[in-house]
């Protein structure tokens, strides 16, 4: 069937393969506020934080590598969103949000190690020039659809947010898990979702997992393999990706992880996740490689590629997260250290939807979170929602047009 004939059928005739690449720790404003892309809702110099008597405005000049890792545990994000010294009280409503505590938190938190030198605290309010510092991301944002209301699934760190992508829940986890907690779920052969994961729902033959094979070998351990039923040995090197796509690729869903760089020394250097302490370049090249592989494969005309960031990594964002639907999946309270009800989204993150079936240069203001990926897969491929979160989530299928574009660039990046 040719591409435009497919448009006469259902959406599952148009999009047969969904690809997701999830990078690390950047807020929407940090990456795109200064991009000049028209129509985005973004921070300006009028957006400020006050700390220790000084006022810090949002602006440019973000360092290529952050001097320290900004905090982004639940307790950090509460302070970032709700103001200096704000705390979440178990059983109480989420404190009022005004996005006023990013600088205060960066200056003082020790959840990721030593705080920065006092002269560096405004780094957290700085954005990058995406067109030069992350040119592949910028090109995709201007060639396809840039979502400016995609939020991380909870106000917290990497692990629970990545779990939301895979299961519309974190089984109550609201923090980076401790060794004792992981040991308990390892007794169950891995992290278990009360209602299963998207991989369970799709079945083994319908998904593929890859991790970037470049960079520091110490960081080539895929987080997705913490989930029950998925092993490190099931995650292919991305070196095979292009050849796989060219050879009878049938997987409906493909999830790709970056490499995390030097995790042993907490520098994250020489990875491709765009971790704040590592910089943007290698992750941008990863984006370009994945795009190029899909774009130049036989699957391009049937593909939807979503690029996401797991959470904001502590960076300032000007948009206040709204109310979210709790998963309501019967998760035990054991992993829920704070008593958080999962009823508020996390900070806004960059998200780009790439397909020959989406409009060029559109900015989408629809509210999404990571469970929107699941909602998309489920509605596209006739699967039941896993939890109330993905059941109520917006999908990206409304971005699909009836025309297969012929003007999409074959290669991107510097």
């Amino acid at each position: 069937m040719n591409a435009n004939a497919a448009a006469a059928g259902g959406l599952d005739q148009i999009i047969e393969h969904v690809f997701v690449l999830m990078l690390e720790n950047r807020s929407f404003d940090h990456l795109f506020a200064l991009s000049g892309i028209p129509g985005i809702i973004a921070a300006t110099t009028a957006n400020t934080n006050t700390y220790s008597g000084a006022t810090y405005a949002f602006g440019g000049g973000a360092p290529s590598q952050m001097p320290t890792d900004p905090g982004h545990e639940f307790i950090d994000v509460i302070e970032q969103l709700c103001g200096a010294n704000a705390q979440f009280q178990r059983g109480q409503p989420f404190p009022p949000i005004d996005n006023s505590g990013f600088v205060a938190n960066y200056a003082t938190t020790r959840t990721e190690g030593t705080p920065p030198q006092s002269g560096d605290v405004d780094d957290i309010m700085r954005g990058v020039d995406a067109s030069t510092q992350s040119s592949a991301m910028y090109q995709l944002a201007t060639q396809f659809v840039l979502c400016d209301a995609w939020h991380s699934s909870l106000p917290g760190p990497t692990w629970p947010n990545r779990y939301f992508l895979h299961g519309a829940s974190s089984a109550g986890l609201d923090h980076s898990p401790t060794s004792d907690e992981i040991c308990k779920w390892e007794g169950l052969d891995g992290f278990v979702y009360p209602k299963g994961s998207i991989f369970d729902a799709l079945g083994k033959d319908n998904y593929r997992l890859y991790q970037d094979h470049l960079g520091d070998p110490l960081g080539r351990i895929p987080q997705v393999a913490s989930i029950k039923g998925i092993s490190v040995c099931d995650v292919d090197d991305l070196s095979h990706f292009e050849a796989d796509l060219a050879a009878g690729y049938t997987a409906r869903y493909t999830f790709i992880e970056p490499s995390y760089g030097d995790v042993v020394n907490n520098t994250y250097e020489n990875g491709s996740s765009q971790h704040p302490m590592d910089g943007l370049a290698a992750g941008d090249q990863l984006v370009a490689r994945v795009y190029g592989a899909i774009r130049n494969s036989p699957l391009w005309d049937k593909s939807l590629f979503v690029i996401l960031y797991d959470e904001h990594g502590g960076f300032y964002d000007s948009v206040m997260p709204g109310k979210a639907t709790p998963p309501n999946d019967g998760a035990a309270a054991t992993l829920n250290a704070s008593g958080f009800g999962f009823d508020v989204y996390g900070v806004r993150v960059p998200a780009i939807v790439v397909s020959p079936w989406v409009a060029q240069g559109k900015v989408d203001h629809t509210t999404y979170d990571h469970s929107s990926v699941l909602a998309t897969l489920e509605r596209l491929f006739g699967l039941q929602p896993l939890t109330d979160r993905d059941k109520s989530a917006n999908d990206v299928l409304s971005l699909i047009t009836q025309t297969c574009r012929q003007d999409c660039p074959e290669r991107i990046g510097a």
């Binding site: 980076s176 898990p177 390892e186 070998p217 351990i221 987080q223 099931d234 095979h240 020394n265």
Partner: protein
């Protein structure tokens, strides 16, 4: 930046990305050598230097198994 080896004596922070990913390796290692042997090896990881050694020791075995599974998935092709 602190030179790599200067931090080898530091304990692996808990929780941390490193600790989480070490457990991911342990989970996969259990599939290869059984729970007891994997646990025994993992229990010797205390410092960042131990973690580096653990990753460098376990990962090649997992990569071999990964390739075997890949061959099986693709019917011996590619």
């Amino acid at each position: 930046m602190t030179p790599t080896l200067d931090r080898d004596h530091e304990l692996v922070p808990d929780p941390s990305t490193l600790m989480g990913l070490l457990h991911v390796l342990r989970k996969a290692h259990m599939e290869l050598v059984g729970k007891d042997a994997a646990h025994q090896r993992f229990s010797r990881v205390s410092t960042r230097g131990d973690a580096r050694q653990y990753i460098e020791e376990v990962m090649p075995h997992l990569m071999k198994e990964r390739e075997k599974r890949r061959q099986r998935r693709h019917g011996g092709g590619k």
